[in-house]
Symmetry: C2
Subunit: 493 residues, 2 copies
Amino acid sequence: MAKELKNFTKRSDNYSQWYNELVLKADLAEQSAVRGCMVIKPYGYAIWEKMQAELDRMFKETGHQNAYFPLLIPKSFMSREADHVEGFAKECAVVTHYRLKNDPDGNGVVVDPAARLEEEYIIRPTSETIIWNTYRNWINSYRDLPILVNQWANVFRWEMRTRMFLRTAEFLWQEGHTAHATKEEAEEEAHRMLEVYADFAENFMAVPVVKGVKSPNERFAGALDTFTIEAMMQDGKALQSGTSHFLGQNFAKAFDVTFMNKDNKQEYVWATSWGVSTRLMGALIMTHSDDNGLVLPPRLAPIQVVIVPIFKDSEGLEAIRNRMEPIMAELRKRGIRVKFDDADNKRPGFKFADYEVKGVPVRLAVGARDLENGTIELMRRDTLEKRVVNLEGIENLISDELEDIQKSLFERALKFREDHTITVDSYDEFKEKIEEGGFILAHWDGTPETEEKIKEETKATIRCIPLEGDKTPGKCMVTGKPSAQRVVFARSY
Amino acid sequence: MAKELKNFTKRSDNYSQWYNELVLKADLAEQSAVRGCMVIKPYGYAIWEKMQAELDRMFKETGHQNAYFPLLIPKSFMSREADHVEGFAKECAVVTHYRLKNDPDGNGVVVDPAARLEEEYIIRPTSETIIWNTYRNWINSYRDLPILVNQWANVFRWEMRTRMFLRTAEFLWQEGHTAHATKEEAEEEAHRMLEVYADFAENFMAVPVVKGVKSPNERFAGALDTFTIEAMMQDGKALQSGTSHFLGQNFAKAFDVTFMNKDNKQEYVWATSWGVSTRLMGALIMTHSDDNGLVLPPRLAPIQVVIVPIFKDSEGLEAIRNRMEPIMAELRKRGIRVKFDDADNKRPGFKFADYEVKGVPVRLAVGARDLENGTIELMRRDTLEKRVVNLEGIENLISDELEDIQKSLFERALKFREDHTITVDSYDEFKEKIEEGGFILAHWDGTPETEEKIKEETKATIRCIPLEGDKTPGKCMVTGKPSAQRVVFARSY
């Protein structure tokens, strides 16, 4: 079994297969009996819970409250905002009946044709429509604004090609939906949440991101502006990891949501929405993991430190446990999540392999001789380096190692991105270089036509127009027309 | 507005209307555009979040892990367990199509008839079927057992008569699904989780509950035994507040889930499931609240202490704030959730009424004269008693008051239940007394026929066969046949 766990496809041989195997072998998720839907297994869910807890704290610290809106959306709501329905109608799960009945032929149950709904419902692919229909009753005057609400929920988009975490028919996410009295305030909110996402990605996931604005082609269906954080995976592809939308007054107009402003005039309300999903799990996995399995940044690891005792009998185990208990108590006092694995039906070698595949940041192994010597073996998952260290003062060492792993993972990922980001000025060079993966900074004339041509010819899209960095104008690499600044091109997930 | 908030229907005039008004006025929830579905508003959701956090902690402390299974269930799964399909088929939301398209007549969008699913899906009314279909692949040997998994999720049952929180088409809940090697272990688990629910109800919700086992008529569809906690509302009706099911090997047989036991023999796996839902919000509201609005036990109150400063100008406000800040810091250090409401667009009278309707346990009001005198006005929401107390030492006083409110609410509810629980020996007396509401302890011959007859004639059901208390045998009040012990009868939600 230990061997089997390690018997991975290598990233360099087949990155995509490596990813699929890793998700299964690290016990994160598996395919379900429902097409395109996954089961998130306890270990995978525990990581998602850590993400949720941090994000939820950040949302609350920026003044947001959670609420819950219906899973189902009346079909007619979808057609109210033209771009929105265009974007989502083709992948909707439609509820048409409200009852099953026994099959008259005795073959289990069938849909009861008498129980057809007058108006069909769709399972929410996103909740702007039902939420703005609700906000109409919540908002009368500027005193009712802003509304800063978030929802943790499941959503459904019937995707044809699915991959666990990255693209699944059902996925878990949070969707913030805010309402404001002014355009400026709404824009500020969209930017604020982009910063929250970038902060979370970099400081908790240890995933460096480029913050930017989407080109019109890549905007959310119904938005005036979509802001995005884009991360680079180890195969050089981009992964859109979170988006924040400035929706203008589009949904307020579609659902007739107006307010009395300070000048006593009726005005349409300004809106934002923003979301991240279980897709972040995909970003986390693909940024840090290696040919031995998952590598987790300590801040999101369900188990940060595992202690594997090496013992012959229960007496030996007890001696180790007694020595380790005060150390574990001190670590827990510091908020460190530590596990003592005393299972006697698995051999140490199996445990080592298992925690390696599962990405536990620090592994300690300790046997009888270590106790005599006052030492312990410490392994860092990120570097796979083992060393023997003193038991005395181990608590400080572990705190330091965890911090260092968190930092090193980010730096390694940042260096990888920098090493795979190039500047290109001619379209011929672009076509050649895009085959190597990575981000390409190039000039673009700002038109959807040019973007479409590049996509068709190279499979690369504009990931974003970066908000930070070099803003020097230039000439479009394809048409030679003026370009305001370089934009990020890449192939993407 | 303050007046309007207070303009309640009284409990004694119309309990049901009082409840509906309270849910709206305390800003807990409202009806949505989807039939039978509610919107849980931020204040209501904040209470639910507190419930979730405590329950989740208790589940983890008893060894459970969270996971996530698909929202949709293949229709054929529902017919595998005969009782289960019988129990749920009549209220299923059925997904039949996976795409909308533009209406050829230009009227918005229509269901695309070309996108009909080969096999329909239903939205989970509960997840035993999809989960046991998954467990088949997780379980090979006794070493893979037990599986102790919980899921936080939304479920859908198309109820005809709905009431906010108490009975809604979509509701939020947790569902634990465990798999065991032996019958004894599964039964023990079902009992353990019943105890967890009772502990939560009594020590966090301050709602006293009767623990018991359901009669066969009232069992969960597919269970061998259903354990329940039953609470009494202020109108004397019972509210089933949480259930834990011993499922035997029914689902293992339906989904062919076997394991190699220690004697190297294949055996079917033993199962439990257990759940509580947003229905608990209904229990919480109806147990404690009064004609002035919501009353919350401190342990579940999003705001435990509100401070309303009474000021004429910003200077006055700052003086109050400066004096209160160290007090608030100390309260927060003790884990007390305190709010300083310095909004200047609402008058103190409005704020008082609003926090009263919202059930904030302790309200402090402080003005310039109080600062001079070193005093503050304290009001307890449970008793509505106001008194002027010294600012010096207020932190200890508040801690004590919160504890006392938590305790008093439980005791008051317990006394109410005791005052409305009677013992009855004749069916004639039963018919008379049941009209007054409350729990009736009576003897029953153990047959579904007698239970059915009582239900038809009196609208009362057996809420449970209590696990604790008097176990003296007797004679059925209806048939005179032997009865093992008294059972709890009541009308119920």
